[in-house]
Amino acid sequence: MAMNACCLTEQEKRIESGAGQLSPRQRINGFLSNFRDQIPRIDIQRAVLFTESMSQTENYPMNIRRAKALNYVLNHIDVVIEDNELIVGTCGGAGRHSILFPEVRGPWFEKALRGAQKSKAFQISDEDIQVIKEKVIPYWKGKSAHERYLAMLPPDTREVIYGNDNWGSAGLLQDNANINTTLNWAGNYKKVIDKGILEIKKEMQERLNKVPDSDYSKMAFLQSAIIVCDGIMGYATRYANKARQLALKEKDPKRKEELEMIARNCERVPAHPARSFWEALQCQWFVQTAYKLEQPTVGVISLGRFDQYMYSTFNKDYQAGVIDEERALELMECLWFKIANYVPFNITATQNYFEGYCHFEQTVLGGQTKDGHDATNELTYLILRSKKEFPLHYPDLSVRVHSRTPDRLLRAIVELIKEGTGFPKLLNDEEIIPFILQNGVSIQEVRDYVPCGCTEVRLLDIDTYMAVGCNLNTPAALEMAMNDGVVDIDGTKKKLMAPSIKATDIKTYEDLLQNFTEAWDFLVQHYYKRQAALEISNAACLAAPFMSMLNDACVESLTDIHQPIRGHGLSKDTGNLSVIGFGTVVESLAAIKKLIFEEKKITLDELKKALEANFEGHERLRQILLNAPQYGNNDDFATEVARQADEIICDVVRRYRTPNGPQNLKHVPVTTHVAMGRKMNATPNGRKAGEALSEGISPTQGRDTEGPLVTLLSIAKAKSNLYNNSLSRLTNIKISPQILTGEKGTRDLMAFIRTFVDLKLWHIQFAVINKDTLIKAQKEPEKYRNLIVRVAGYSAYFTELSPDLQNEIINRTEHQMC
């Protein structure tokens, strides 16, 4: 069927016409011209400098060592100001780059860097690899955080997670420990913008004066805070000097003036409070740079409530006529470019658990004020406009919605969704706030929550660190339940446990559920064992004095954020144990319950034989499975199966604890559902071996056929709501542009979002794109290299994704009704 011109999204029109996206702002286009042709470069400065410092401070406490190392990096790393930049500072030179954190995974670098070089996902020179081999790896061998963690893991847990590769993942529990990030965090930018580092340093000094002489750990906390204060101010001074030098040489009077302004900005911030919007943005980026240089974050340093903490300087400058909207957009987009240039180092950009150079510097808009009123302001709308006009998919953008979100904001959200780039994702205050309230925090504090990562949220001055969780392969638990504890992963069969009912004795659906519960329990126990090991090993190996200094809970207790903080702050997650393949499991259970135990159309044995053969020679059986009642179509039978499965999953998770307390579960796969699916055998929902598992809390790609509203209702009904530990349920809805055309399309989607708010679902994001476009992009990647699509909690260039993930995205149901 020929594509109809009236049904293309703005993004599709641009690509079809060959125009590509240009920013209305000339300066931004200048940056863009060389961005997409750059393969990110691995910059080794941070790794080398950090190691140099760490190797000279071994007798100091860990937080002092980290503070000195960060200070050393900030004072020695190259100071680079690129042409036409208005916001300055970089973690590793000019252009698109990545930096290394040897303290976490140093010994793995030799293999990883060669791999990155070979796959052409990152650029690194042979000389630089040699430097890493000689100056960095030898120091860290046996000392890295990941090795400490591995040494602590019980052997059976280690086997279940890693199989025979200690730096990879076997596919049952995909471990995020120390891979790209040591924590998810939202930066506390407001504090520095409003107060200035000098004031914070003064407070630290005053506290230090009051600490009793012998309380060395508290002294160390404050001393390290003072060291990093000096570090970041020194870094800014170096930029001020550089800008002055460049200004002297600059011939173009306009640029000369800009460079002088940049110099003045860097003299002012972050030492002093920001007075202008430009200063506030520069301050924000300096703070962000320090966060990024301090420890690995996969870019999960959320930008926080950007429209809130930036509003006062914006409004002041705007009212005074110092800036107009265009200038404000230009300044912000210079910051977006800085963010886009920083790429976390993954083994390869594709074929991984985090595909497409993803990083999630989530910028959140809207929501409520501390006193419970709608928080939307003019800057909110300006940032939404920027997202429409700015040609890159960084930073990530989310909007907090609630029952009093004004229609004007909903309309602006929908107009951006209709662009088709997957922005913004929506988080629902009506679901999230009650969940956090149960932790005993005041309602005022909770209303100020900040999303970070995909769908997780943090309270900036109350929450403390959580060791990063891991993804659990839920369909594998079902496989074990049916097969006496044997699971077939990556072509190898392993007996991992023994369910109490032998496979041959499973006579009822309840028998199967009993075994499933036990197999799930087995995986969950290993999760908790690794979580406990990680909490303890990270506390021994890691410290983050800069981040700790900006967290009130840490400052109150004078304890580093990587340590358990008793009595101050909350050690609570909003989902750390990630359930992968919920849809796959409940569809499988529904098919088994209906066809084997109720209708007795097939036997469990027949099913197992067909799965073993990957349905070859059993296509008829596979069709019968595919046509069983489907979760996602609001079918009473299937949603009850889903609700019951949810109950079991939640109940098992709440049986255990780590030293820091119980953990919550979430449904956030990033791209793990594709990676795990690749290693998994066929499943009883008719899915063939190697195909992606279902995503988030959604039904399997392509199974929900009754329109997006019915999908939402099904997801809402699947919530068992018996326990309060299921948070961060990620929902991805793919909509054909055809049903969003015109004013009516806008209004319909606004109504749809209101329904989402009313149904109290945690999160939703929309992929608005024609299937044809995606198929064409697979065939002609060159033409479609600027095509941005929603992946999981983030958007990425479609052509930078692996073929498996591309197919998964194509297969997500496109809700298209006439």
């Binding site: 046509n627 009516k744 109504a751 329904t755």
Partner: protein, 330 residues
């Protein structure tokens, strides 16, 4: 003893009658499909209920499965996994309707089919399926009421077809049910029915989409199989008698049949004499229904006719709206 049983299957009804049970048969409607999240058939997001059976046989019909009032066996070859992997239909059908056609596919001789529909139950992939199911008012209501959230926003229910007026009693009962919960109701009708039936249904509608396909009597007869006098009389009465109901007249624009401006202008002249018309919409022809003809073993006479450019039709529509003093509602 007088046992009263509420049932819906007439076969059961007979057997129960034989054993002396007094049966109160519940009203059912024959439905083809309930489509969720429809956005092009009335305000907001709607449920669309397609009734089965239509007195017209328009040659461009895009929903051929709604024409016959009977259950209809359909075969979707794309879903069929082939006789090598399955072939149960060939084995099980006593009438020998199905044969293997050399390759891996099946062929149907519909003349042998007695519509027992046993094959539908054994087909694993739902390649063989039935168009048509009998549902009670409550069943349809339940299937659609999960959309309450949308109705609250701005949507509702649209009864389409087929021709809803062919099952006027059922449709009336269904619309009443929606009215009791305050749901916005609409129907899409050809208007080809006795006035009493239209009147009976109309009083429960907020909105009526009314088709006038061709004004010329003979031409109408040629392409739809029926005379249009009733249709034209009914729309007159409807606009006179129900000034409060929103009425939108629609014309599907079909290549080589009524896509000349004069065809449309004739209709416009007729419409000019009507009061209380809310809008007039031209619907550009599309051929999306052609695969369903194939599934039903029917011939699609307009196969390959191509589609019409939409822009000129939208422009013409806007000009007509001005002529008729109609303001397009958003």
């Amino acid at each position: 003893m007088n046992l009263i049983v509420l049932i819906k299957k007439s076969s059961v009804e007979l057997s129960l009658k034989k054993v002396g049970v007094m049966v109160m048969k519940e009203l059912t409607g024959r439905i083809v499909n309930i489509q969720k999240y429809s956005v092009h058939d009335g305000p907001g997001i709607r449920d669309l209920v397609f009734m089965k059976g239509c007195p017209l046989k328009c040659i461009w019909c895009s929903n051929p499965e709604t024409q016959s009032p009977s259950f209809q066996l359909a075969y979707n070859s794309k879903r069929c996994i082939g006789v090598e992997s399955c072939g149960y239909c060939v084995k099980e059908c006593a009438q020998e309707v199905f044969t293997i056609n050399g390759k891996n596919n099946i062929e149907m001789d519909r003349s042998k089919c007695i519509n027992c529909l046993k094959c539908v139950n054994i087909c694993c992939s739902k390649a063989l399926h039935v168009f048509g199911t009998d549902m009670t008012v409550d069943e349809v209501f339940k299937k659609t009421q999960n959309q309450t959230d949308t109705w609250r926003s701005n949507g509702g229910v649209t009864i389409s077809g087929g021709e809803p007026l062919l099952q006027a009693d059922f449709v009336t009962a269904l619309l009443k049910k929606y009215k009791t919960v305050g749901v916005h109701t609409a129907i899409e009708t050809t208007g080809y029915a006795p006035w009493e039936r239209l009147e009976q249904v109309a009083r429960w509608c907020n909105l009526i989409f009314y088709d006038i396909k061709i004004l010329n009597k003979q031409k109408h007869n040629n392409y739809t199989g029926v005379d249009n006098s009733v249709i034209l009389q009914n729309i007159k009465k409807l606009t006179e008698k129900f000034p409060d109901i929103e009425i939108i007249v629609r014309t599907p624009v079909i290549p080589n049949i009524n896509n000349q401006e004069k065809d449309i202008i004739n209709i416009v002249k007729f419409l000019d004499g009507l009061d209380n018309l809310n809008d007039y919409e031209l619907l550009p022809y599309h051929g999306y229904g052609s695969s369903k003809y194939l599934q039903l073993g029917m011939t699609y006479k307009l196969e390959g006719i191509g589609s019409l450019e939409k822009e000129p039709i939208y422009e013409l529509n806007q000009r007509i709206r001005k002529m008729l003093n109609l303001r397009k509602k958003v």
